[in-house]
């Protein structure tokens, strides 16, 4: 690898200051799983890296009745996968974390790094978006909280300011009686980013579907919410034909982009198939079928 300088601040303020001082020629490094690949291939050649690893308190996971699960940015996928709090409060998040990459990458790759990388085929974004997660970031101008929908802007682009560091992801508690599911569809090998990731969160009231959030990852630059499909179900009881209609609507409204994982045509088809499948899972959880 090419030479660079490595700075290891011990506080967020210091990190943010270093980012400001070196603006343009500096990168934060968390686990390094994504960043180092891009540096090896020469896509990025920053002369300086600022490591987050010595900043205390960034890897905690706890439950806060108001804000829900608060997951520190440096929390690894593996910790989310195995965390008792996550398993208790949001088992779907733990199940999703287990599908990310392989066990080694899950041991070093962090949730903050994953979101900041803003890879269009990553697993966490569609589910976290369906769950209404918010990203907290700290920079020179203080701390702000950004809904994930506004955080992810484009391929590899987020709403972060150059001197901001993501400190945590907050996932609100599921309303009582909700169910949530995530499915991924790999096409080249099981050891791959998903071609499509599909997440559904359904809020139930007396057997009626009060609200659905249906999100599809991998189809476009950022995860797509299938709002028309969601609208179809609002206030109705789910049936297989209704889920079928929702799937069709979802396929209809996404505008996929062709890439390594499939053509626009294929992804549109899979958007429908996996919208249906993920809704069926969320429905089955509710009915216990």
């Amino acid at each position: 690898m090419r030479r660079f300088e490595l700075l290891m601040p011990t506080s967020l303020d210091e990190a943010s200051r270093l980012l400001r001082e070196r603006e343009g020629d500096v990168k934060l490094i968390a686990g390094g799983a994504s960043l180092l690949i891009l540096m090896k291939s020469g896509v990025y050649q920053p002369s300086c890296l600022v490591s987050l690893q010595r900043i205390p308190g960034l890897a905690d996971v706890h439950f806060d009745p108001g804000e829900g699960l608060r997951i520190g940015a440096l929390t690894t996928h593996r910790v989310i996968e195995r965390s008792p709090v996550v398993r208790e409060r949001l088992p779907v998040l733990s199940e999703m974390a287990r599908m990310v990459a392989n066990v080694r990458i899950r041991n070093t790759g962090t949730i903050g790094g994953n979101l900041c990388q803003a890879d269009s085929h990553a697993d966490p974004p569609p589910l976290l978006l369906a769950l209404g997660a918010r990203v907290r970031a700290k920079g020179g101008k203080g701390t702000r909280t950004i809904p994930l929908e506004e955080f992810l802007l484009d391929y590899y682009q987020t709403a972060l300011q150059p001197d901001e560091v993501v400190t945590e992801v907050a996932v609100p508690p599921l309303p009582a009686g909700s169910t949530a599911a995530y499915l991924r569809h790999t096409v080249r090998s099981a050891e791959d980013f998903p071609c499509i990731g599909a997440a559904a969160v359904v809020e139930w009231q007396d057997g009626i579907c009060r609200q659905v959030r249906l999100v599809l990852g991998g189809v476009a630059a950022v995860p797509q919410r299938a709002r028309q499909a969601e609208a179809l179900a609002r206030g109705r009881s789910l049936t297989e034909p209704l889920i079928g209609q929702m799937a069709e609507a979802a396929a209809e409204e996404v505008e996929p982009i062709s890439d390594f994982y499939g053509s626009a045509w294929y992804k549109k088809r899979m958007a429908g198939v996996f919208a249906r499948r993920v809704l069926l899972v969320a429905w089955a959880q509710r009915t216990g079928r």
């Binding site: 090419r2 030479r3 080249r188 090998s189 079928g244 209609q245 799937a247 069709e248 045509w265 088809r269």
Partner: protein, 777 residues
């Protein structure tokens, strides 16, 4: 007299003895190139072309030379200016410069090389080399490259490599990108087709893929004060690389010494010169040891498996009897011929399939230059490509004629006594048995039961491959402590040659296998071997080792006969003891050696050699594959429920290792079938790493993977053995392609079989599953 000759019960051959390299390998102590360093060693790095075809207007390395830590920067121009070197090499044609001269021919063509004290300085230097290209029109697909008006890659006349007798007939077609055109004819093709009840014509295609050994190419080269050149290199062919380097440096081959440690896999990727010319040139200019290890991306840009288009036409009678076949293969060999001409020959020889066909016309085996990385030897030498075609065509015929696919193959396949294309008598094939066993193992004829919403089907494929030409020589020395060392230049790259060759020697010498060890290749001291590839080590080198061991054994027995005062004919050696048969008069082999030399030291030697007769196909190895698949008609996903690989190995010297060869070959075949493909955009490789080039992983394995070994002894092979390194690979894709048709009624012609292609084909055939429950089409 020998164990083999007398048909005595075998003690070591036929046993799954533990691998001799096992202890080192599980301890992480086995020495590969990454553990070999020299004091003062420099690090080499290569600058590569960023355009697919262009003239080099300017290569300016001045700034790079000034980077602290940089010792040498070499360009094509410096090679030419120096004048002492011949910068062109190539096993078939001298068409490849060590570093680009005047022109670059693909994205990744080496342009300049740097040797520096560390990697960082070398990289900094690479960044500072200024290159100006004048881009030329480029051509990427073989069929485009032979279209009229296609840009020419090699403009001048190309000299033959002069290395191999079987390649003396390689001739580029002047004014075209065709670097070799291989023709083979039997009977009268057109008449055959006129006669047929049914004629089928199909076109198949196979993309470039990678061998992807986990270990990249790596070389440590130095020039000693006397001017001799030495290298550690992870090559499958030390002697051939030595010959090529000798031509480059204009020195006798013996001025170059090549030593080969363990290889971390090869599969054909480490045949012929790879990193050696650049590394050696760097060391030669730097006058210091230079280690050059290719990055992963560079490995992708160094060698591929040939992308191929196969046009195949077959005529058959109503009862399934084949009467005529016409095959055209268009191999894209990339920017340099490499060993492509031999791949095309092998593909030609085996390309009509292992069937009796009176009229065969393989009239256009073209091997075509394109602006892509060079393609060369890949496990199976052309068979993986062409089997995808002929075995799918066989199934098509069976379906059209409503004949069972096994039946139609049985009706046509070669059996012992048939005549092969050049007139040789086929013998010891085992092809029919492979087919029948594989079919039985997959429960051929019993319908598959699919889960609701899924579809299942079965398919099979067979193949027959010939041995590659070459010579192998072995020495066996028995030392005064009763141990034996076997000196060969066979490369242990994972196939288990160290273990198997030691078993052969131990069996023949009558020594416990632990008392036999193998030397690793060192061209100064181990005898010549053509190559470790083409499934030839067990049979060709195995035979040489057997003969060498036999000679040493005979000498031992002569000595023991004197010492024991018995007739040689009454002696036997087993488990390290020479014994007068039926008595307890015995001497340990160690005692025999010592007594002869009347000292604590002494060595008994034996020598053996094996070579194939020219242009003759000496022996054949057969294989079959059978698959059961399950298709999800909504997504197009294909899951292999069961795969069976059946291979005839002649004699399994070490059954466990043979089984593993078949398993490994089958899984490699699965990768070629489902996921492996190099993807380019205007000659730029888009997936030069495992992030987007997908190899099969544990979770991609079939639920069941079964191996069947058959043993139809080959009279010339050691203990009847044939090769097994390649045979499991070729049938996989076609067996799965055929199973797909059985499951969903659609055939794919283009590899790899992706979920998307399956869904698209299903859709076109009107059989895709619904999206929503109501079916959103």
């Amino acid at each position: 007299m020998s164990g083999e000759g007398m048909g005595m019960a075998l003690e070591i051959v036929g046993q799954s003895v533990p691998r001799s390299d096992g202890q080192e390998k599980v301890a992480g102590q086995a020495r590969y190139m990454d553990a070999i360093d020299l004091p003062g060693m420099l690090v080499g790095r290569v600058l590569r072309s960023t355009v697919p075809h262009g003239r080099l207007r300017r290569v300016d390395a001045e700034k790079a030379r000034r980077v602290p830590g940089v010792v040498t920067v070499v360009t094509g121009e410096s090679l030419r200016r120096d004048g002492r070197l011949n910068p062109y090499y190539g096993p078939a044609l001298l068409d490849q410069p060590v570093l680009a001269i005047d022109k670059v021919l693909y994205v990744g063509d080496p342009v300049a090389a740097v040797a520096a004290v560390d990697e960082e300085s070398a990289l900094e230097a690479l960044d500072l080399i200024e290159v100006e290209y004048e881009e030329l029109p480029a051509v990427f697909e073989p069929l485009d490259a032979i279209a009229p008006g296609a840009p020419l890659l090699h403009e001048g006349e190309l000299k033959p490599g002069g290395l191999f007798v079987d390649l003396t007939d390689v001739h580029p077609v002047p004014g075209t990108n065709i670097c070799n055109h291989y023709v083979m004819k039997k009977g009268d093709g057109e008449a055959g087709f006129r006669h047929a009840d049914i004629v089928i014509e199909q076109t198949f295609s196979i993309p470039e893929t990678q061998h992807y050994p986990l270990e990249p190419h790596s070389v440590l080269a130095w020039v000693d004060p006397s001017g001799r050149i030495a290298l550690y290199a992870n090559t499958q062919q030390p002697f051939i690389v030595r010959a090529q380097l000798a031509d480059i440096f204009q020195v006798p081959p013996s001025h170059i010494r090549i030593m080969v440690p363990y290889l971390g896999g090869a599969y054909g990727a480490k045949c012929y010169p790879k990193a050696e010319p650049i590394a050696t040139v760097l060391a030669w200019f730097a006058r210091r040891p230079v280690k050059l290890t290719f990055t992963r991306e560079e490995v992708f840009l160094t060698i591929t498996k040939h992308a191929t288009v196969v046009k195949m036409k077959s005529g058959a009678m109503r009862d399934g009897t084949l009467v005529a076949r016409k095959v055209e293969c268009y191999l894209g060999t990339g920017a340099y011929a490499e060993i492509g001409p031999r791949v095309s020959k092998k593909m030609g020889t085996n390309g009509a399939g292992p069937y009796r066909i009176p009229h065969v016309q393989m009239d256009a085996y073209c091997i075509i230059y394109t602006n892509k990385p060079p393609a060369g030897a890949f496990r199976g030498y052309g068979l993986p490509q062409v089997t995808w075609a002929f075995e799918q065509q066989m199934d098509t015929l069976a379906r059209e004629l409503r004949i069972d696919p096994v039946e139609i193959r049985l009706k046509n396949l070669f059996v012992d006594g048939d005549t092969f294309w050049y007139g040789e008598r086929l013998n010891a094939l085992g092809l029919r048995e492979c087919l029948l066993k594989a079919a039985a193992a997959i429960r051929w004829g019993e319908p598959s039961q699919a889960l609701p919403g899924k579809r299942r089907g079965k398919g099979l494929a067979i193949m027959l491959k010939t041995l590659t030409h070459g010579a192998s020589i072995a020495f066996v020395k028995v030392d005064d402590d009763g141990t034996a060392k076997v000196l060969t230049s066979t490369v242990e790259m994972g196939q288990g040659s160290d273990t198997v060759l030691a078993q052969i020697a131990a069996e023949e010498l009558g020594l416990p296998v632990e008392r036999v060890s193998m030397a690793h290749p060192d061209t100064d001291f181990t005898p010549f071997d053509d190559k470790t590839s083409g499934s030839r080590s067990t049979v060709a080198m195995g035979k040489a080792v057997l003969l060498a061991a036999r000679e040493a054994r005979e000498r031992l027995l002569e000595l023991a006969a004197e010492q024991l005062e018995a007739s040689v004919h009454d002696l036997e050696v087993r488990r390290g003891q020479v014994r007068v048969r039926g008595t307890d008069r015995a001497l340990d082999v160690a005692q025999v050696v010592r007594a002869h030399f009347r000292s604590k030291g002494g060595t008994i030697m034996g020598r053996g050699e094996f070579h194939t007769k020219l242009a003759r196909e000496e022996f054949w190895f057969a294989a079959a594959g059978a698959a059961e698949v399950e298709v999800d008609p909504e997504t197009g996903e294909v899951r292999v429920l069961k795969y069976v690989g059946a291979c005839d190995v002649g004699k399994a010297i070490n059954p466990h290792l043979c089984q593993q060869q078949v398993l490994g070959g089958a899984v490699m075949g699965l990768g070629q079938t489902f996921s492996e493909e190099m993807v380019y955009d205007h000659g730029q490789l888009l997936n030069p790493s495992l992030i987007n080039y997908k190899l099969p992983a544990f979770r991609d394995l079939p639920a069941q993977l079964e191996v069947i070994l058959l043993e139809t002894p080959y009279s010339e092979g050691p203990f009847g053995a044939k090769g097994v390194g390649e045979s499991a690979v070729p049938p996989v894709a076609a067996a799965i392609g055929n199973a797909l048709v059985d499951a969903i009624g659609v055939r794919l012609y283009e590899l790899p079989i992706t979920a998307e292609k399956v869904l698209k084909a299903l859709e076109e055939a009107g059989g895709a599953g619904p999206v929503g429950a109501g079916g959103a089409r």
